[in-house]
Every structure is written in C-alpha cells, then in structure tokens.
C-alpha cells in the first residue's frame, strides 16, 4: 500500500505472479552480465545499473496496455526489458554491435525500441518529462486511449524541466504518469543534501496541481497498485499522476563507481529490502513451489546467456552507417 497519498482511491487487487518475479530476475541477471561486459571494457561508454530497482519497472509495465508509451532515464535497462525490448538487441546496443536496437548509434545511454512503445532513455537529466507531455498530448489528439509513462530520478526533480512539465501536464490534463525513482543519490551526493523538501518529487507535485503518491518502490505489490490507479486516472481523462517510489541502487552511479560515499549500515538496510527475495518469499508463502521458481530462474539464465552469446557473435557496428539517418530520407547532407 502507499506510504502517503494525495489520492483517496484504494488499489486494485493485485495477484502474485511467478512471471512478475521472473521479469525482475531477468533484469537482475541481464544487468549482472552487462556489468561484467562493462568491467571488461566491452561496452561503449558507461553503463548505469538499476539493480535493486527492478520492482518499479516491473510494477508499472504490468499495468500497461499495448498502445501506451514509456520514456525513462539512462538507468533504463529494467524499463526497457519490462516494456518488451529484446534482450539481445539491448545488449548489442550497449556493446556497440551492428544489431543493437539503435544500430550502435545510441549506446547504453540512449536505448530505444519504439515498436514496443519504448520511446527512449534520456541522458540529459529531466529532459524526458516535457517530451512525455507531448507523447501524452499526441495520444489524446489521435484518440489512441494511450498513456505516457515517464520515469525519472530524484536528481531530476531540481531541474526546471520537471516543474515546467508537471504544470503543463496538469493544465492540459494530460494522460501521463510521472514516476520518480528515488534511490536517494544523484551521482555521488544525496538528493536531500541539496533539496529543500524531504520528498523531492512528492512534496512538489501539489504545487503544480498534480495528485501524487509516495510508495515503497521495492514492494512490487504496492508499485502495481499505485501504477494501476495512475493508469486508470490517465485513461479516464482525469489527468496526470506523480508517483515517488522509494528505492535503492545496489551499486554505484555508473560501473566502476564503488559507491564508497554510502554508509555501510544504509547499504545493509536496503540490501535487506531487496525486492527479489521479498517477492520470492511472497510467492513461496502463497503456495508457489520452490522447484517452479528455480525452474523459472534457470529459464531466464538460459535466455540471458543466449542473448549474450548472440551479442558476442554480432559484428561491431559498420562505419558505413555513420552517415545514415540524420534526415528522414536517410541521408546526412547539409548542402547541395
């Protein structure tokens, strides 16, 4: 359930599902493999793990409909996977391979799979919030019934675009859901050290006329319930919702960051609240057999390994593509 809310609705019933656990596990294993590639200097540029934040991704994706759209941050592997982007295409993109979802032009920071409604991970902090408004406006004008979901970090709440976007979404009553994944740290500094309010997104939503909830982002059930309420509001034409999900990244800002700026007891406390074992325990308590869970985990292990094998077998992006796709006609010329 939500910790705090400016909404009055109660949550829809959420059933425990093995596939939801498997999806969190898929993200976890994918990121472990990605981290290994990064530490071996096989990725192009930095990668930013969301390990520990999987419940937020999976909880929102569970409530989506096919026509919905999603935008997120560069810490977006989990969102990309839960929204249906192919594992191999994502990994190839991070390793600069020709079969990457963006042909190697985006890299880890700019994963995109439009055919799955995944309209990009954005690496300029906060930039995606105003863009999500446009996607939501487009859904409304085209009558698709779609909702735009926009993930951002706690660090994004101090940038002007956050405030500009919330206000406009409320004024235009847009079908958009803003989701702050508050993992406590911007890069190396805590958000609370440089922010005047306790809850950086939740506390400011009201100032922009956006109903908000503050939830436990490591509790998949709570996430799904809050997401369901927000999607329902958006689809009913009742406008935007902001959800601040408290969570924690188990690793540093980017690969190679040992995150020594974090107190050991804080890390320990959050590791004890890891969403995967927590949900696994719920499944077991709910009667799902250990063998079934282990079998699902093995299937995911195999799936990720296959994606990695496919990635390693793929060629590096061909320099011949560099001049393609600047313009709609496929070219990149500026003069004639």
């Amino acid at each position: 359930m939500s910790i705090e809310s400016t909404l009055t609705e109660t949550g829809p019933a959420v059933s425990l599902r093995l596939e939801a656990y498997a999806e969190m596990y898929r993200i976890r294993v994918f990121e472990q493999r990605a981290a290994r590639y990064a530490m071996s200097n096989m990725t192009t540029g930095p990668i930013h793990l969301a390990t520990g934040q999987e419940a937020v991704s999976v909880g929102f994706a569970a409530c989506r409909q096919e026509q919905d759209s999603m935008l997120c941050t560069y810490r977006g592997h989990g969102h990309a996977i839960s929204w249906g982007a192919p594992l191999a295409g994502l990994m190839k993109e991070m390793l600069g391979r020709s079969g990457g979802v963006c042909g190697g032009k985006g890299g880890s920071l700019h994963l995109t799979s439009a055919e799955h409604g995944f309209l990009g991970s954005y690496a300029i902090i906060g930039a995606q919030l105003p863009i999500a408004n446009g996607v939501a406006l487009s859904h409304r004008l085209r009558g698709t019934g779609g909702v735009a979901v926009c993930f951002f970090g706690d660090g994004g709440t101090n940038i002007g675009a956050f405030h500009e976007a919330l206000n406009l979404a409320a004024v235009w009553s847009l079908p958009v859901v803003f989701v702050c994944e508050n993992n406590l740290y911007m890069e190396y500094t805590t958000t609370t050290e440089v922010t005047a309010v306790k809850n950086p997104a939740f506390d400011r939503a009201a100032a922009n006329g956006v109903p908000a909830e503050l939830i436990d982002g490591n509790d998949l059930v709570a996430v799904e319930q809050a997401a369901g309420r927000a999607f329902d509001r958006a689809r009913a034409g009742d406008g935007p919702t902001l959800i601040e999900a408290l969570t924690y990244r188990h690793t540093g800002h980017a690969h190679g960051d040992p995150a020594k700026y974090r107190p050991a007891d804080e890390v320990e406390a959050w590791l004890a609240r890891d969403p995967l074992p927590a949900y696994r325990a719920l499944l077991t308590a709910g009667g799902v057999g250990e063998a079934d869970i282990a079998s699902a985990e093995r299937a995911v292990d195999d799936e990720v390994s296959a994606a990695c094998d496919e990635t390693e077998a793929d060629a590096m992006a061909d320099p011949a593509v560099i001049l393609r796709d600047l313009w709609a006609d496929g070219s990149s010329g500026w003069r004639h």
Binding site: S69, C102, G103, G104, K105, G106, H110, T112, S113, A114, E115, L119, G120, Y122, I124, A127, L129, P130, I131, A132, N133, G134, V135, A136, L137, S138, H139, L141, R142, A148, G160, A161, E164, A165, N167, L168, V171, W172, V321, R324, D325, L326, W327, A328, D329, G330, S332, G333, W334, R335, H336
Partner: protein, 335 residues
C-alpha cells in the same frame, strides 16, 4: 495575387497547412487567443479551435519538449518560441533532443516539427531580444534552418517546413514583419534548399539571407548606378544550403560578398565563404568578403542598432573593394 504583410503571410502559411493536414497543431506563448505577440498566428485559434491551437505557459522547455513528444508519435507540431533569443532557455531541446531523435535511434522515429521564432534586430528590442540565431542552430547537424525574406517566401517556406519530415527552424525576421509583397493565390509551397536569384549581374555575386536580402538588393541598386552589376542570391535556408547556386554564380562573376546578420567571429557566411574558397578557388578574382554585424551584443538605441546591422553602404563599399581588387603578385609580375 494578393498583397500580404510578412506577418500575415506567416499565418497564411500555417492556415494553408492546418486546413490540409489535421495533424498540424500550433503551440506557444500567446499564440491562440491573442494571435501571437507579433500577430503571426492571428485568426487560427478562432478557425481551428482549442484542440489545434494551444496557449502555453512561459516555459520554453515545456513547449519544445511537448512538440518533440508529439512529433515522435504522429503529429506535426509547430512550436513558437516568441523571440529567437529564448531558444537559449530551451537549448537542450534545440541541440540535444530534437536534432538527434532520428539519428540516435537509427530512424525509429523522427521529429517532424517546426520551431518558429521572431529573429534578429531592427525594431529596438535590445541585446536579449534582437539576436539573429541562424548560426547558433547551424552548429548542430540535424536541424533545417529557414529564413524567409519576402511575404511569398514566408508562406511557401512555412508550408514546406511543416510538410518536411525533419525538424525545421523557421526564423521570422522582426525587421521584415511589416513589409508587404505579392503572394500567389492558392496553394503555395516553396521547396527547402532552393536559393532565389533576386537579381542577375555579371560583376559580382552578393549572397544574403532573411533580413539582409533587402539590404543586398538596395546595395545592388546603388552599385548599378556606379556601373557595377551584381547578382543577388537569397539563400532562403542555410540548412539545406543551396551551395550549387552560389558556386554557379561565382563561376560567372568571380567575386562574392556575403551579407549576414551575425557577428564576424562566427557566422553562417563563414561557411559559405569557406566552401566557395575550397570549391571555386579557380574562379575567384578577389577575396571573398563578409559584411557582418558589429562584433558586439545588439545595442538598444535605434541609431546604435542601425550601426550594428550591415547597412547598405557597408555592402556597397565591400562590393566596390571586391570589384576593384587587383592581386598583388599579378601587379608585381607585370612589374
């Protein structure tokens, strides 16, 4: 033919495309009920209503972000940034988001949108409301940059910009807003990247853009009185750049003067001069000259602003110097 002001031609171009394509929407500060602070969207809200024409808060990032998101997903937004100077407030969208959307997704989606903005000096708005920003935008691959110089071009280029599948920045010269001109009746679309030769002469080529086109034309008239016959090329857009028309003209005249509303330290004219130097060197009979603004912010006082801008006599002087130029080594060898 109808006689329209430049500002009314902007609205006419928008109206033509909004009638044709219902995915075209207009958003910006004061663009709906007020018809735009420069009256360049007058009548559109009344005709097309609140689902096509949107007043926004003073929040330029929200405006361009919304335009991009809508463009990525099937709409054709026209986003107005009131003064081109304000593009600095939403520069992330101008340089990081909009022009890269197609490229960094390998064409998964594009950004078929128009950013329109009142551009340049000439009506005394001072240092932060008078800059001509073609060169700012030109530093980033992925934006088309259009600067109409006549009412007919305003209508036809606006239409082409809206139909274009790539992001286009349409810079509307504040100095030209009240100017009038003949605009053909019926549908008018002028393809992007086709320069207009406004005058043909054999002695030198003058390349101009937007607000500097009338300056170049007035200079050409004065030069004619001195028996110097100039070609005046209105580039219309700097991306795509119709280099072919410039190079062909320089091949005939052997001389080029570029007249640009931009400081000398970096201007679109420097790119034009550079490619003429590289590709038409054998035709050149004199160094390419650039007539630029003063290399300072745009001053407020009317007389200071006039001095800031390239004036007709500056262009005449540059043209005369170019035409009378004699290569020193050539003189020496004649001994």
């Amino acid at each position: 033919m109808a006689t329209l002001t430049y500002r009314n031609a902007a609205a006419a171009g928008l109206r033509q495309e909004m009638l044709r394509d219902e995915s075209v929407i207009l958003l910006g500060e004061d663009v709906a009920k007020a018809g735009g602070v420069f009256k360049t969207s007058r009548g559109l809200y009344d005709e097309f209503g609140a689902q096509r024409v949107f007043d926004t808060p003073i929040a330029e990032q929200a405006i361009l972000g919304a335009a991009l998101g809508a463009a990525m997903t099937g709409m054709r937004p026209v986003a107005e940034i009131m003064f081109a100077d304000f593009l600095a407030v939403c520069w992330d969208y101008v340089v990081n988001e909009i022009p890269k959307a197609r490229y960094m997704t390998a064409g998964q989606f594009g950004a078929p949108l128009v950013i329109r903005a009142a551009n340049g000096a000439g009506i005394g708005f001072g240092p932060q409301h008078s800059q001509a920003v073609e060169t700012w935008a030109m530093t980033v691959p992925g934006l088309k940059i259009v600067s109409p110089s006549t009412p007919a071009d305003m209508k036809g280029l606006m239409a082409a910009a809206i139909r274009d599948d790539d992001p286009v920045l349409v810079l509307e010269s504040k100095a030209l807003l009240a100017t009038k001109g003949e605009v053909p009746d019926g549908e008018l679309v002028i393809p992007l990247g086709q320069a207009a030769v406004r005058r043909t002469g054999q002695d030198l080529t003058i390349a101009a853009l937007g607000s500097t086109v009338p300056t170049a034309q007035a200079a050409a008239a004065e030069l004619a009185a001195q028996d110097i016959d100039a070609t005046v090329i209105d580039l219309r857009s700097v991306v795509p750049l119709d280099a072919g028309t410039v190079l062909a003209s320089v091949a005939e005249t052997g001389r080029l003067v570029v007249v640009e509303e931009a400081p000398a330290q970096l201007g679109w004219g420097a790119s034009v001069a550079s490619l003429v130097g590289e590709e038409a060197f054998g035709s050149l009979r004199a160094p390419v000259r650039r007539v630029c603004t003063a290399n300072v912010p745009v001053p407020g006082s009317r007389r200071l602003e006039e001095r800031y801008l390239p004036e007709v006599h500056h262009v005449v002087d540059a043209a005369v110097a170019t035409v009378s130029y004699v290569h020193r080594s050539f003189v020496d060898s004649k001994g």
